[in-house]
Amino acid sequence: MRNKRDIFPVLMIFALLAVMSACAKKNVPPPPGYGGAGQEYGQMPGSGGPGMDEAKWRELGINSEAEKREFLEKAKAFENQDVYFDYDSYTLTEPAKKVLDEKVSFLKRYPKVAVSVEGHCDERGTTEYNIALGERRANAAQQYLTSSGSSNLKLTTVSYGKERPVVTGHDEASWAKNRRDHFVLNY
């Protein structure tokens, strides 16, 4: 990997991946102007984003294109999988623990990745109590990950209470989806 692309920001890698999926040929340099699309990718939540250079990849323990691809896939799955709670509860259920176990294996593999655990609540209940409840939910996941994962995890928590629902419906199905911990990676 000691070539000219060392100086390219990570968005070029996204561009490259996109081009590679279009034509099977390897090492095709990105066409001019493709960086624009890359920047859009860079703004997706949790993605490496602009400023992700080779040194940072190496810091995460990622050295090849294949490893980057694997990481990005797993990171996406990591962020897309929320942990759910019962009403007015911050006890981790068995299914929640299973999800967290998967996250533990990711975090053990990539111990340098920073993770923000967001605690959320459904719309029922009090605004202020729900912030406190959301924090307890985020803490529950953080504690579980810490106690079963690597000791040098960069794990932070933030509670949004009921302020950032993922679903806006007013029924149990919607509420159940909103009582969650959401995970955002920063790398």
């Binding site: 009090t126 202020e128 109590y129 912030i131 409840l133 924090e135 307890r136 803490n139 949004y160 302020e163």
Partner: protein
């Protein structure tokens, strides 16, 4: 739990009080009529508020408008009932203001116990307002005439001041007509802090952070509002100087910094923090120094939403240490805590009344939320609302009214009711969604 009617004894008592006024009982004592009037009295005191009399020719426009504002203030007070002007016999612009010129018998027959006589003069940009309260049954003026002067554009506060004086003369306590109500307004995906006059007029946007702002709390001198904002990622407590708009960080410890409550009589706030992982209520200075950790937390329990007793020696708060959210009272001096609510399994948002005699809170059951009141000793629990989601109660500084968030008439809005559950009107009418009211203290006069 639900007990909406007041006791027959109390009703009889207040009707008798009213009868004393009508019979001119108070006439002999002094020029002041001082009675403890409760908003729970079935009968409100009928008062006539004619158009204000303009003393400078041609300045007629405010005559009706000011009368409307005074009338509305007195209606909102919960003590008075303003009579319909259509029944008035006299031309307000031709009325004499001397006791000898007042047609007591006419006003009595029109049902008025009191008459508010007001006149005004406009000179350039200045306004002078004169008001006299007349005791119709007693056939005399109450106290001395009141005078107010100021800029013409500030005519509303002058009318409110006379309403305050009327309340003072009749009940012995000022009204809340110079107070403001802060609240959270949704603006797009953001939530910002606003405030308006107690009657819903003059809404002002205080924050423009395009973030989530919550939990506004007025300082005891009405000059500052503490609030919670996510503008820097974590929820932190900020302060804003209301007149100047200048902002400052109050509490920015790691973890959550929420639910600020200014301590009465001291320049200190109680806040809920999780800086030591466990949630607890702390006492902090307005610049964020920790003065004290109260130690109400219990293991991984939730501790949030402190509300001070008026003497600043106790606070009510929410804890889930018994398995679900309930209201507790913490005594700062003894360090003892006591569970207050036992009915229902979701009781939050305590608000200690300024008179100290009641604690309002919101109680959730079966998807709905209702405002309840309970005495600090745990007795007298009563539900004041029914239907919809009624949350986040906050007392008016005279303890006669409660502002709260409600969706009972469509979108979430701030509503106000009397502390006995009667009345009930919508304060915020600008559309969108409003929540989390906080009623300011009175301004010093």
């Amino acid at each position: 739990m639900t007990q909406k009617s007041i006791s027959g004894t109390a009703a009889t008592f207040f009707i008798m009080l009213l009868a004393f006024i009508l019979l001119g009982f108070a006439q002999s004592a002094s020029s002041q009529v001082t009675l403890e009037i409760s908003p729970s009295a079935i009968q409100k005191i009928p008062i006539a508020v004619p158009d204000f009399k303009y003393m400078t020719p041609g300045q007629t426009q405010l005559a009706r408008e000011m009368s409307d504002v005074l009338s509305n203030d007195l209606n909102i007070s919960g003590v008075f009932r303003s009579l319909d002007r259509k029944g008035f016999l006299e031309d307000p612009q031709a009325m004499g203001f001397e006791a000898s010129q007042i047609k007591f018998e006419d006003w009595r027959r029109q049902g008025a116990a009191f008459l508010a006589l007001c006149s005004y003069q406009i000179q350039g940009n200045s306004l002078r307002l004169d008001g006299t309260l007349v005791d119709i049954a007693g056939r005399k003026m109450v106290g001395s005439p009141k005078s107010y002067a100021g800029e013409l554009r500030a005519w509303r506060p002058m009318v409110h001041a006379f309403a305050d004086d009327i309340m003072m003369m009749v009940t012995g306590e000022r009204g809340v007509f110079d107070t403001k109500i802060a609240y959270v307004q949704s603006v797009g995906n953001a939530k910002e802090i606003f405030y308006c006059d107690f009657d819903g007029n003059n809404p002002v946007q205080l924050t423009r952070d395009n973030s989530i702002a919550l939990s506004p709390a007025w300082s005891p001198d009405q000059s500052q509002i503490a609030f919670v904002s996510y503008r820097e990622g974590q929820p932190r407590v900020y302060g804003v100087n209301v007149p100047t708009g200048s902002r400052y960080l109050i509490s920015g410890f790691p973890g959550m910094n929420i639910t600020p409550a200014w301590r009465p009589g001291r320049n200190e706030l109680a806040v809920a923090l999780s800086k030591d992982r466990g949630q607890d209520i702390y006492l902090v200075s307005p610049t964020g120094e920790i003065i004290k950790k109260f130690g109400v937390g219990f293991g991984s329990s939730i501790s949030v939403s402190p509300s001070w007793s008026p003497d600043g020696q106790k606070f009510a708060y929410v804890s889930n240490e018994a398995g679900n959210p309930q209201i507790y009272i913490f005594d700062v001096n003894s360090g003892q805590k006591k569970r207050l609510t036992f009915s229902g399994n979701y009781n939050t948002s305590p608000s200690w009344s300024p008179k100290g005699d009641l604690i309002a809170y919101s109680s959730g059951e079966g998807g709905g939320f209702n405002i309840c009141i309970i005495k600090p000793d745990g007795s007298g629990n009563r539900e004041l609302t029914s239907g919809g989601r009624n949350e986040a109660p906050r007392w008016s500084p005279d303890g006669r009214m409660i502002a709260y968030s409600s969706n009972k008439q469509g979108g979430p809005a701030i509503r106000i009711m009397y502390s006995n559950g009667t009345g009930d009107w919508q304060l915020t009418r600008q559309g969108g969604a409003q929540e989390l009211p906080d009623w300011s203290p009175r301004r010093n006069r």
